[in-house]
Symmetry: C2
């Protein structure tokens, strides 16, 4: 059902500009031959109104400096569309923000569904020691948009400090 040709791969080098510690990211890219950071496997469902697109997302574990690995995050091109995420494996947080500056987060857990309402940009963060794997479902006409994410980031970042997960 999931089309292996519709795989999106993001390597560490694709994440330049996203982490607080740019030097640590460069070290990761060099030391590990630009490793895969996360990848998604998309359903072959048409991208049109009425369809329900679904994908599997796999975000590897690790840290850039003391900041946990994360996805770039995205808005939907059609901003009034939401998205459902079902945790399948691993631990992490879904960080969500609005263009107006609101920020919230919710924990991933296997078997738990996180609902990202319309208008909220969303980014997955892997706070565990294994891949964070989730099933994502969204309206076929939603589309993706990075909007202000690369220039503005999210209002919060997720770090490991003294062995704890800290959102700051």
């Amino acid at each position: 059902m999931l089309d292996p040709h519709a795989q999106i791969v993001r390597r560490a080098s694709d994440m330049r500009g996203y982490y607080a510690d740019e030097q640590a990211l460069e070290q990761l890219i060099t030391a590990h031959d630009d490793p895969i950071h996360y990848e998604t496997f998309e359903s072959p469902v048409p991208e049109e109104y009425g369809q329900v697109k679904f994908c599997i997302s796999r975000l590897y574990p690790g840290k850039v400096g003391d900041e946990y690995f994360m996805t770039k995050g995205h808005y939907h091109a059609v901003v009034e569309t939401g998205e459902a995420y079902l945790g399948l494996r691993g631990q992490g947080l879904m960080l969500m923000k609005t263009a107006e500056g609101a920020c919230q987060w919710e924990a991933f857990a296997p078997g738990k569904l996180i609902y990202v309402p319309p208008y909220w940009a969303h980014r997955s963060v892997n706070t565990g020691d294994e891949p964070l794997i989730s099933l994502c479902l969204y309206p076929g006409d939603a589309g993706h948009s990075y909007g202000d994410i690369k220039s503005e980031g999210f209002p919060r970042r997720v770090f490991q400090r003294n062995g704890q997960v800290v959102v700051s």
Copy 2:
């Protein structure tokens, strides 16, 4: 996340007119005090364009005569909307039909996603010995419609014959 107030309960008596063996259904209703046949637990997500509604469906195991327990089945009021079903527990079939008379089916399995494309009416059938539990996700504006299901039924029924699951 799932609103216990948004529970839909279908009892055996709600299924009059759906099974081949009407007498066996009446015996079931009488002998077991009109037992719950299936129930759904709906998310509190608004029923509007752009949202992703989700629900948990639980269909009990059993037979009416030699026909496996099933749901009524439904089209969507907005016929060009699809629906994704993720098997969580149990065994069964998703029967699908179009208004033009096409009929297909696909097996449920825990962890397997079944995609019901736009325009297809769909009905779950429990062919196992335990509840068939699935997670359903569909566009917020999809709505439900029974269309021709009560008058026409589905082109196929699912029976147990000689210990085998038979679609005929």
